[in-house]
Amino acid sequence: MEARKKGKFIVVLLCLIGSVFLLLAKSSAALTLLDDRVRITGYFENTTGWHTQDALAADRGHLSICRNVFQLDTTIKLLENGQTNIILHNIFRFFYEASFALDDGVNRFPRDKMQIEQGNDKLRELYLTIQSGQWRFSLGKQQLVWGESDLFRMADIINPLDLSYNYIWAPFKDTRIPLWMLVGNYTFPGDHNYSIEVVFNPGDYHSWRLADAGGNWSLPAKRFFSMPGFLPGTFPGPLDNPFPYLSYEDTLPTVQWFLDEWRRQSHNHGLRIDDWCAGARVKGNFGPWDLGLFYYYGISGLPTFYFDMAKGGALTFRFPRQQNIGMTANVYDDFTQTVWRFESAYTTNGSLAAFQWVFPPMKEVSRDVVAFMLGFDRPTWLPSKKHHWPRQNTWFLSGQWFQKWALSDYRKKGVVIPGVLEKTTPVAALDMTNDNSQTMFTFTANTFVGQGNKYSPQFLFMYDPSGNGAFWPSFTYSPNNWFWLQIGYQMILSHNTRDGYMGLFRDNDQAYLQLKLSFY
């Protein structure tokens, strides 16, 4: 009851904050100080979702998320003399997950963990940019994005991801974990826009952040024991639950222990020079083509794990070094009126944990991985009898084909890391056959309707030929400069719980409403 009262108080407080924002937003003016040298903008956002299926345990109808975010973006011009600009950027972000306080039916297991784990990014980004002539430097806590892909990360690997609160549905700009690094860029004068960009991370390492056990998008919670290749068909019972004698709640402490060990053993504790990372990218225009080559020496954001017999069989996590080499390309083709995009990467010394039928049951194996993405973007007029619809806007159609291969033969070895490689249906009861490739297709269609882009419908499809995918329709309403409302449905499609990126989240469909009030 006490917690319920506190929760209601917080909700009322959030409403008050939102109202203040409403007033600020209606003023339609950024906060500026010191003769426009300091500019402050920001927003208040609430995302509330409801389970429409019993994902983990009697979830249907209960809140899946009620996340409240308050973000302030500040830029401070330290120098601006026509030749050189020096600007300090920072983003403060505060969040509060209110679902636990508002809905007794929400699994309360991860409540405190979530606030602690996600609450340490209040100073989300803080970096200084120096731009002078052909040079640009950026120093501080920031995001650096390479690549041509939407969603697939072959070149966009510098910042790890926080998938703990909304899996893949949140934009990467909100889920990338900013890191302290130095970035330098030089663009050569001339017609080809040749540029070289170098990045150095002095040891600010973070592993990916996954949802805590029992959380809305908790990866291992329900299906930990049925992840690809892990003891399939070994025990009686349906493949979805090889431990039918254990309840869902019984598994949570074990899973949370696993995640806690992961975090304890990762290096998310300030700068360690041993964890330095570095990379470079060169780009240029060659006729109609934009081409780029990149190299990044980094540390895997996802761990391998095994039982270390030298330490008495202790569960041990390792965050292996990886080398990533790749290329990007895009070209506009006038005949098809389409932009074609390409991205590929070769990852060397990638390590994975694999199951084996001898003791200890886990061991590390290394493999090389190659992946590519081929995509297209085509704004298209939708004809109708009288005129196009919408009248003055195209439909933006975008599609991608993603393909990944593990170059070592993992047949009969098994792979534990979920979502990375697909698992085919076993031929025999003890068959650990593992497919060593992954295929995914995505398709997005969106448009804007009305003056000021007042309405925006969007559809996102994802399809994995192994039999899983996602469908995400949404509709956005923005009647003025400061109010934005989106309604949508996140649907996971899969015929089992182990395939691809989506299988593990089968039955986790959610409807949501997102409200944003911004001021500029």
Partner: protein, 415 residues
Amino acid sequence: MRLKQVRVIIAVITLTLALSSSGWSQEVSVKPGDVINKNNYQKAADLIPPAILEHIKNGDFQMPITDYVAPTYTKGFQRATEKGKGKVKLDEKGNLLNWEGGCPFPDLDLKDPKAALKMAWNRDKCLYHGDDHGVDKYRLTMVNPQGKERHLIGLEESWRTVFFTGRTEIPPMPTIKTEPEQVRLKQLTSLDAPYDVKGIIHLKVRYEDETKEDDIWMYLPTIRRVRRMVGAQRSEAFGGTDCTYDDITLYMGRCLENEYKIAGEQKILTTISVLPPYKPAGWARKGVFEEEPYMVTDCYILEAKPVDPNYIYSKRVIWIDKKTWQSAVSQVYDKKGTLWKTGYNNTAKIKTGIGDYMSYGIGFWWYDHQASRGTVYEQFPFTLCGGEMQYAKVSTNLDYNKYFTQAFMKERGER
């Protein structure tokens, strides 16, 4: 008898001249100092497009009349025009040959079979913005049928354009050579407000080859990187406004994407030259229609029919100032041939970076008659040290190696 014959001849000549299509024979019943409003709109009925006249009749705004002042060009532009007289030609596809700046066909003969296309080229090349130009602050205001406004705003280094051909002010002239294709212009546009578009940076590269589509890149803050875009959809709305990318400055599309016809001549009221005293610094405009000085402008009427069957307009009509070839007013029609929008242009005299003066496009507005709403573009004036009001920095030798790079797009987008 002889005197009678002379009188008849004079009468016939007078009548012939009065009935000729020459504009100067159009009787003008307004004079500087008049204010055309709902009480006297009839006297300017032949000077205002009927769809706009309706708004005056309804009392939405009024038109104070002032003296006509022709937009002016720099001395360099005028020298280039003079130098090219008689030398500039059209090839078999309609491209310009031997053009190195200025107005290509200043002494246009209306009887020339290619007069319409030549007029279109004159309009295109006389849409003059110096050898480069930079706008810091601008605002696009969308006004809905209820009069409520929403804005798109650029606050600093908002427009940066460098012309690579037809240069008349700053060396190298007339061309900055580029490889492998000759670039005509590069243009960077920035948005700073509202929040959901803050940081969007648009880079356009247009080529001299009229058959080659523009190359476009955009820095998108939502994905934190530069994305290649399709340049073909210039008939799409710009940022949700009532004007398309091609509607900017009334027509910013490619010359050879239309078939042209000279539909006549007419004197109309335009805002083609904004005269001092200029508006005070700050966003002064409210709504689409504003009371600003209008002047009787003698115009050619040029009809442009898009070659692309998917273009959203079936026809574009442009009133072109006879003296300067500047676009003064434009109307566009939908696929069914119904009037869709009317646009007005205005220029103001500004000082260039090399100390010369020229008329520079400082604003335009479009009104959508079918949806009863409109969009206004304004540039924020600023005062030079000498006290002169300026709307843009023109021919200041912008560093084209700095602005039109993906690194600058990212830096500008993150401000």
